[in-house]
C-alpha cells in the first residue's frame, strides 16, 4: 500500500497525547477506586495538611463566601511557595550547583516513588484485599523505587522503562494532589495556569531566566523530561541549535513530603511539602527540517558543533524535574518533529481530570477532550512561535471551563434525554 500523507502527519503529537491520556486514565482509575474506600477509613478522613492548605483548611460545612476566600488564599500561598522554590532553583543553577541539583532529583524521585507510591500501593492492596505480606511488599516497593532512580535520569536505560517511570511519577503526584479539597483544587489550578503564563513569557519570569541561562551555557540540565523519542545514549549534551533553540524547562522536582509528627494529635498527619517547585515546562518546539535537510546531514554542521545529538529529537513535554531540561534542536538535523512535555503538565492535567472524576464520568470525558484540544492548540502555537511556551494555560482554562459548562448545562440535558430513551 502506498504511503500517504496521513501516515506521517501528526506522529509526534500522538506521541505526546498517548502518555498524557494514559496518565489521565490511570489517575481517574486510582481516584475512582480509592476515594470511596479512603473515605471510610478514619485516617483518610482527617485532612492531610499540605502546603496547599496552609492558610485555610477547607471543610464542606463552610459557607461559599468563606470557602472562596479561603481557596484564593490557599492558591496565593501555593503560588508564592512555588515562585520562591523556582527562584531558589534558578539561583542554584546560576552558581553551578549542578551536582547538587542532580542528586536532589535522584533523591526526590526515589522518595516520591517509595513514600507516596508506597501509600497508594498500600491503599490499593487494602482495597483489593490482595494477599501480599508486608515484607514482600516492602522489598518490592524498595526495589521498584531504586530502579526508578536511574530510569528517570540516566540516558542508558531503555526508553519504554524510562517513559513508564515518568508516567508513574506523574500519576503518583497527581493522585496525591487530587486529595485536596474541591474549591482549593480549582482555584489552585487556575492560579498555576496564570503563574505558568507569567513565569514563561515575562522577561523576568524565573522559568524564562532558567531557560536563557541554560541556553547560554549550552548545557542540558538533568531533568525529568518526557521524551517520546529520546536521543541516543552516546550524546549527553545538547548541541546548540542553528536557528531556534528550544528550551524546555522541566518542572522542578515533585513535592517532597516529609512526614513529621509535629502535632501530637494522632489524627492529623502533617505532610510537609518542602520544595514544591512545580514548573510547567514550556513546550519546546522542534522544527521539522524542510526538504533540503536530507542531504544536509551534516558534516559541516557537525564540524561546528562540539557535541551532536544524534537521532531524532523529539520534544517531550517534560515534567517535573527539579532541573529544567534544555533541549537544543537543530533545524538542519531534525527530520521529525518531537515534542517534550514537562512532567508538571502531566500532573496538573491529571489533577484536573481526577477532580472531574470525583463528580461524574461525563465531566471526565468533557475535560479530557478539552485538555487534549488545549494541548493540540499549544502544540500548533509552538510550531508557529518557535520558542518555549507554557503548556498549562490553554488546557487548564479549557478544562475548567468545560467542567463547569458540563456540570451546569450538559448534564441535566443529557441525563434527562437519555433516561427517557430519547437520543439524537
Amino acid at each position: 500500500m502506498q504511503r500517504s500523507v496521513l501516515d506521517s502527519l501528526g506522529v509526534e503529537i500522538i506521541g505526546v497525547i498517548s502518555p498524557v491520556s494514559i496518565c489521565m486514565l490511570l489517575v481517574v482509575l486510582l481516584v475512582s477506586t480509592l476515594s470511596p474506600s479512603a473515605s471510610d477509613s478514619a485516617a483518610a478522613a482527617a485532612s492531610a495538611t499540605t502546603a496547599a492548605t496552609l492558610v485555610y483548611d477547607e471543610s464542606p460545612s463552610d459557607p461559599p463566601g468563606r470557602r472562596l476566600a479561603g481557596a484564593l488564599l490557599n492558591a496565593a500561598a501555593f503560588v508564592a511557595l512555588i515562585t520562591a522554590a523556582t527562584t531558589l532553583l534558578v539561583v542554584l543553577y546560576y552558581y553551578r550547583f549542578t551536582g547538587f541539583l542532580r542528586n536532589y532529583v535522584r533523591f526526590s524521585a526515589f522518595f516520591v516513588l517509595a513514600s507516596m507510591g508506597g501509600s497508594i500501593l498500600l491503599s490499593l492492596l487494602r482495597a483489593a484485599a490482595f494477599p501480599l505480606d508486608a515484607v514482600s511488599a516492602l522489598v518490592l516497593l524498595l526495589n521498584l523505587s531504586a530502579v526508578g532512580v536511574p530510569a528517570v535520569l540516566s540516558p542508558a536505560v531503555p526508553v519504554l522503562l524510562r517513559q513508564a517511570y515518568l508516567v508513574a511519577l506523574a500519576v503518583i503526584v497527581a493522585a496525591w494532589f487530587a486529595r485536596l479539597p474541591e474549591w482549593t483544587t480549582w482555584t489552585l489550578l487556575i492560579a498555576l495556569a496564570l503563574y505558568d503564563l507569567a513565569a514563561v513569557l515575562c522577561p523576568r519570569g524565573p522559568l524564562r531566566v532558567l531557560v536563557e541561562l541554560a541556553s547560554s551555557r549550552d548545557e542540558e540540565l538533568p531533568a525529568l523530561v518526557y521524551e517520546s523519542r529520546p536521543a541516543s545514549a552516546s550524546v549527553s549534551h545538547a548541541v546548540a541549535a542553528l536557528g531556534s533553540v528550544e528550551l524546555q524547562p522541566v518542572e522542578p522536582a515533585p513535592p517532597n513530603p516529609t512526614l513529621s509528627n509535629r502535632n501530637v494529635d494522632p489524627d492529623r498527619t502533617i505532610v510537609e511539602i518542602e520544595s514544591l517547585e512545580e514548573e510547567t515546562s514550556p513546550l519546546v518546539p522542534n522544527e521539522p527540517s524542510s526538504s533540503g535537510s536530507g542531504d544536509a546531514r551534516q558534516q559541516d554542521i557537525a564540524a561546528e558543533r562540539e557535541r551532536e545529538r544524534e537521532g531524532e529529537r523529539n520534544q517531550d513535554p517534560s515534567s517535573s524535574s527539579s532541573l529544567p531540561g534544555l533541549a537544543f534542536e537543530s533545524d538542519a538535523f531534525d527530520t521529525s518533529r518531537g515534542i517534550r512535555l514537562g512532567l508538571g503538565d502531566f500532573v496538573f492535567y491529571s489533577v484536573l481530570v481526577g477532580r472531574a472524576a470525583m463528580y461524574d464520568l461525563m465531566t471526565v470525558y468533557a475535560c479530557y477532550l478539552a485538555i487534549i484540544s488545549g494541548l493540540g492548540c499549544t502544540l500548533i502555537l509552538l510550531s508557529i512561535c518557535r520558542h518555549a511556551l507554557p503548556a498549562l494555560p490553554i488546557s487548564i482554562t479549557l478544562g475548567v471551563g468545560f467542567y463547569f459548562l458540563t456540570r451546569l448545562l450538559l448534564e441535566p440535558f443529557v441525563v434527562g434525554a437519555s433516561t427517557s430513551l430519547v437520543m439524537f
Binding site: 502506498q2 504511503r3 500517504s4 500523507v5 496521513l6 501516515d7 506521517s8 502527519l9 501528526g10 506522529v11 503529537i13 500522538i14 497525547i17 526538504s291 461524574d360 464520568l361 461525563m362 471526565v364 470525558y365 468533557a366 477532550l369 478539552a370 487534549i372 484540544s373 493540540g376 468545560f402 459548562l405 458540563t406 451546569l408 448545562l409 450538559l410 441535566p412 440535558f413 443529557v414 441525563v415 434527562g416 434525554a417 437519555s418 433516561t419 427517557s420 430513551l421 430519547v422 437520543m423 439524537f424
Partner: protein
C-alpha cells in the same frame, strides 16, 4: 450489575467502534487527530444546545411535543455543525494537499479522503455513545441494576447501549456519505442525510410510549441498515469508477 455486566454494556455500545478504531484509525496518527477533533466538535455543539435549552428543562414528560421540538432543533443544529466541519475540512485539505505534494509528490487520494470522513463520523458516533450511554453506566458496575418504567423488558443500561450502538453506526457512515456528497455535489445525498438523522431521532420518540422501545429500537436498526447499505453502494460505485479510470489510462499507455 457486576463489573462483568458493566464491561459488557460498554462493549455493546462501543465494541464496533473500538474494532473500527483498531483496524483503520489507530495506524494513522492524523486520523486519530481527526477523531479527537470531531469528538470535540460534537461536544461543543451539544454544550451549546444544552445551554440553549437549559431554561426549559426539565420537560414535562406527559406530553410528547416538547420532545419533538427539542429533537428537531438539536438535529438541525448538529447538521449545521456537520456543514461547518465540512468547510473546515476543505480548508485543511488544501494544506494537506500541499504537504503531500512536497513530501510524496502526490495529492490526497480518494481513499484518504474517505478515511478522514470515516474518522470524522466515528468521532461523532463515539462522542454520542460516550455522552449518552457510557457516562451513565457507572452504577452498572455495582451490585444492582435499573429499569425504566416505559421500557421494562430489559435493564435501562442494555437498552441505552443498544440504541447508542445504532446511532454510532448511523453517525459514522452518514458522515462518509455526507462528505462524499459535498465533494461531488450530489444534492440528493446532501438532503437525505439530515432527513435520515431526523428520522432516526424521531424513532427514539417512540420510546416515550409505554412499551414503545420494542418497536422503536428495531426501527432504528432498520435505518442504520439503510445507511450502511447506501454507504456501501457509494463506495462500490467509486471503486468501480476508479478501476475503470485506471484501466483506461493504462490502455492509453499501452497503445
Amino acid at each position: 450489575m457486576t463489573v462483568a455486566a458493566g464491561f459488557g454494556y460498554v462493549l455493546i455500545s462501543l465494541g464496533p467502534a473500538l474494532s473500527l478504531f483498531v483496524s483503520v484509525i489507530a495506524k494513522k496518527p492524523f486520523l486519530i487527530l481527526t477523531l479527537l477533533a470531531s469528538m470535540l466538535f460534537w461536544l461543543i455543539s451539544l454544550i451549546v444546545l444544552s445551554g440553549a435549552w437549559r431554561g426549559f428543562l426539565p420537560l414535562k414528560s406527559a406530553s410528547w411535543w416538547p420532545y419533538v421540538i427539542l429533537i428537531v432543533t438539536s438535529v438541525g443544529f448538529q447538521e449545521a455543525t456537520r456543514l461547518i466541519f465540512w468547510k473546515l475540512y476543505k480548508k485543511l485539505e488544501v494544506i494537506l494537499d500541499a504537504f503531500a505534494e512536497e513530501k510524496f509528490r502526490s495529492r490526497l487520494s480518494w481513499t484518504d479522503k474517505m478515511q478522514i470522513a470515516l474518522a470524522g463520523g466515528l468521532g461523532h458516533g463515539v462522542a454520542h455513545a460516550v455522552f449518552f450511554c457510557v457516562s451513565l453506566l457507572t452504577p452498572s458496575f455495582g451490585p444492582a441494576t435499573f429499569f425504566v418504567d416505559r421500557c421494562s423488558h430489559m435493564p435501562f443500561f442494555l437498552v441505552s447501549a443498544i440504541i447508542s450502538l445504532g446511532f454510532m453506526i448511523i453517525h459514522t457512515f452518514s458522515m462518509v456519505i455526507a462528505f462524499n456528497a459535498y465533494a461531488e455535489g450530489r444534492k440528493l445525498d446532501q438532503i437525505i442525510i439530515p432527513i435520515i438523522h431526523i428520522l432516526a431521532a424521531v424513532m427514539t420518540l417512540i420510546n416515550l410510549a409505554p412499551g414503545g422501545c420494542a418497536i422503536g429500537v428495531p426501527l432504528l436498526y432498520i435505518i442504520g441498515g439503510v445507511v450502511l447499505r447506501h454507504c456501501w453502494q457509494m463506495v462500490w460505485r467509486k471503486l468501480t469508477e476508479q478501476g475503470n479510470r485506471q484501466r483506461n489510462s493504462s490502455d492509453i499507455h499501452v497503445s
